[in-house]
């Protein structure tokens, strides 16, 4: 059973200036005070400015940026996306502006809002990860780092950091020493036992974990006989993977004491509630934003309504509350 005390601090953050959210929705996640437990997932909300006409960032618990690497990356050739039943595959190839341009051109915009900024980072070697983390250390306006470990370790033969417990531990330990920011480790679902990876992240010093990243998939066009993505394989996201995500959040949350950020196919408040009950202290909206640009703020409203309707003193009361067995 998850330790409820780790998930939130109902009394605390409501008192912080500028962080008052709707009653009972504020959450302390891995040392980051969120006005509500709804974030937007990395890679599905750009750098935060693109949807300014549709989404008031002040309404969100936080924004997780597109993954940032040390240098800019051009990404993969098109086609980069293909629709699948109730989901989509993407092979963006981690296109991003690079650390420097992020700090100079993207972060200042995000800092104008009363929301938390979590920077998603990645690299192709431990050194590159460390360089990005160091480059963000002490930077005002960056509230936490989310480490995307679904990236092949080029130096050690291309095995993903996130699919090897030892590599994951090593990476997280190094990063923990390179930053003053809370460290959220984003787990890959492409593993056998997710609990092992959750524990490895915790043991190595992670302040929180997030999951799930996309599930590796492939789609082939029988007419051209080619993969529908130029890259061959891609990452599956969207409602199709929600049952997998809920199960993994449930398994991971029971294995660790650090808080869990749940995501994977969330469209509506009902979907998000599955993640809270499974043990997530906060949730992120990903692919849903493509379908409904206002998916994240709509989710905040939907969850507030649920909390009110069920007369819950605080949304944290749901965390890990799934009733299994015949209780």
């Amino acid at each position: 059973m998850p330790d409820p005390s780790k998930h939130t601090d109902p009394a605390g953050p409501a008192g912080l200036p500028g962080l008052a959210g709707p009653v009972g929705m504020n959450v302390d996640f891995a040392g980051v005070h969120l006005k509500n437990p709804v974030l937007v997932a990395s890679g599905t909300f750009g750098y935060g400015s693109e949807l300014s006409q549709e989404v008031d960032l002040n309404a969100l618990g936080g924004v997780i940026t597109k993954g940032i690497s040390l240098r800019p990356r051009p990404g993969n050739p098109p086609p980069r996306i293909v629709e699948t039943p109730s989901g989509m595959l993407n092979a963006i190839g981690l296109q991003n502006v690079g650390l420097e341009a992020f700090l100079n051109e993207k972060l200042p915009y995000l800092r104008r809002f009363d929301t938390r900024v979590i920077v998603n980072i990645f690299g192709e070697s431990v050194d590159e990860y460390r360089a990005v983390a160091s480059g963000l250390a002490g930077v005002a306006g960056v509230d936490a780092l989310e480490v995307n470990v679904s990236c092949p370790n080029v130096k050690s033969g291309g095995i993903e950091f996130g699919t090897d417990v030892a590599q994951l531990k090593g990476l997280v330990s190094v990063l923990k020493g390179s930053t003053d920011k809370p460290l959220i480790v984003k787990l890959s679902p492409n593993v056998g036992r997710i609990a092992d990876f959750a524990r490895a992240a915790e043991d190595a010093g992670a302040d929180g974990i997030s999951l799930i990243n996309t599930v590796i998939g492939m789609s082939i066009d029988p007419r051209t006989r080619r993969p529908r993505l130029a890259n061959g394989t891609g990452g599956l996201s969207g409602p199709a993977i929600r049952p997998i995500a809920v199960r993994m959040v449930w398994e991971a949350a029971r294995a660790v004491k650090i808080p869990v950020l749940g995501m994977g196919g969330i469209l509506t408040a009902d979907d998000a509630l599955e993640f809270f009950l499974a043990g997530a202290s906060a949730v992120a909206v990903g692919t849903a934003t493509f379908v409904n640009p206002r998916a994240a703020p709509d989710l905040v409203e939907g969850l507030s309504r649920f909390v009110a309707r069920e007369n819950l003193p605080h949304i944290s009361r749901l965390v890990g509350g799934v009733i299994t067995g015949n209780a």
Partner: protein, 259 residues
């Protein structure tokens, strides 16, 4: 706010597999510029999950209507085809950068199939603002049914030429067979259609120093610049790179695009 719940005011069968919808969407109609597009939700379920991009085909600010014209291609467009006047759909737009306004020049619009609708919007808009401007239209398709809105173009007073692959209407061949007489620095080409056509048009334009813009089609998940799914390979100062069809485009200067 670019999200609209739009009532379908009118639905029309066009030639062949083409259909058009008149949408009640005042804010969209007011903001829309030729070359821009909308993302349409074709189902309220999760299959198909993603919105579909369609160019704006017309927009009438005072009337509060915006139109799209589409070809039935696959599942999404087949579902759109089931809608009737009175039904409501969920539309995001206007999105993307419009075609440039080109003061003074003779305009040459080159379109194929589903690339024709945004060119019609351009021609209609230009006719309203500058009735005297010369506008040439070269349209192509596989067969005569693909020469959609040909009559509407003629009624606008544009000078229309057409080609079909099968020779069922106009010149038997491709649009570029007809383009030669219209090249040169004094004119400007705006093209929209399948990639091979755009590449051929771009090359002819480059060789003849004809200013040229193309509206490209790429698979889109969001249409909003947040997924980075719609990469278009372009020339840049630092060598080849990608730009986003949805926010940097869909209209690009032809010489920028790497085919």
């Amino acid at each position: 706010m670019r999200t609209h719940r739009a009532k379908i005011r009118e639905r029309r069968d066009r030639t062949g597999p083409y259909r058009s919808l008149v949408l009640d969407a005042p804010a969209l109609a007011e903001a829309a510029r030729p070359g821009q597009f909308v993302m349409v939700r074709v189902s309220e379920t999760t299959d198909p999950l993603l919105r579909r991009p369609f160019s704006l085909f017309r927009a009438d600010g005072p009337a509060g209507t915006a139109d799209i014209l589409f070809r039935i291609m696959g599942r999404g467009t087949s579902m759109l085809d089931l809608l009737r006047a009175g039904d409501a759909i969920d539309v995001v737009g206007p999105l993307g950068r419009p075609f440039p306004s080109l003061p003074g020049q003779e305009i040459v619009l080159v379109g194929g199939g589903v690339g024709i609708p945004p060119l019609f919007f351009y021609a209609e808009t230009l006719r309203r603002l500058e009735p005297a401007r010369t506008v040439h239209v070269i349209m192509g398709g596989r067969t005569d049914g693909d020469l959609v809105v040909r009559e509407e173009f003629e009624r606008l007073g544009t000078l229309v030429q057409a080609s079909t692959d099968d020779g069922s209407a106009g010149h038997a061949g491709v649009v570029t067979d007809l383009l030669q007489p219209f090249l040169g620095p004094a004119r400007a080409i705006l093209a929209c259609g399948p990639a091979p056509m755009l590449r051929a048009v771009s090359e002819m334009a480059a060789r003849s120093n004809t200013p040229c813009w193309v509206s490209v089609e790429e698979r889109m998940a969001c249409g909003l610049g947040v997924c980075m799914g719609c990469a278009v390979p372009v020339r840049s100062d630092h060598g080849p790179s990608y730009r986003l069809a949805c926010t940097d485009g869909p209209v690009f200067e032809a010489r920028e695009v790497l085919w």
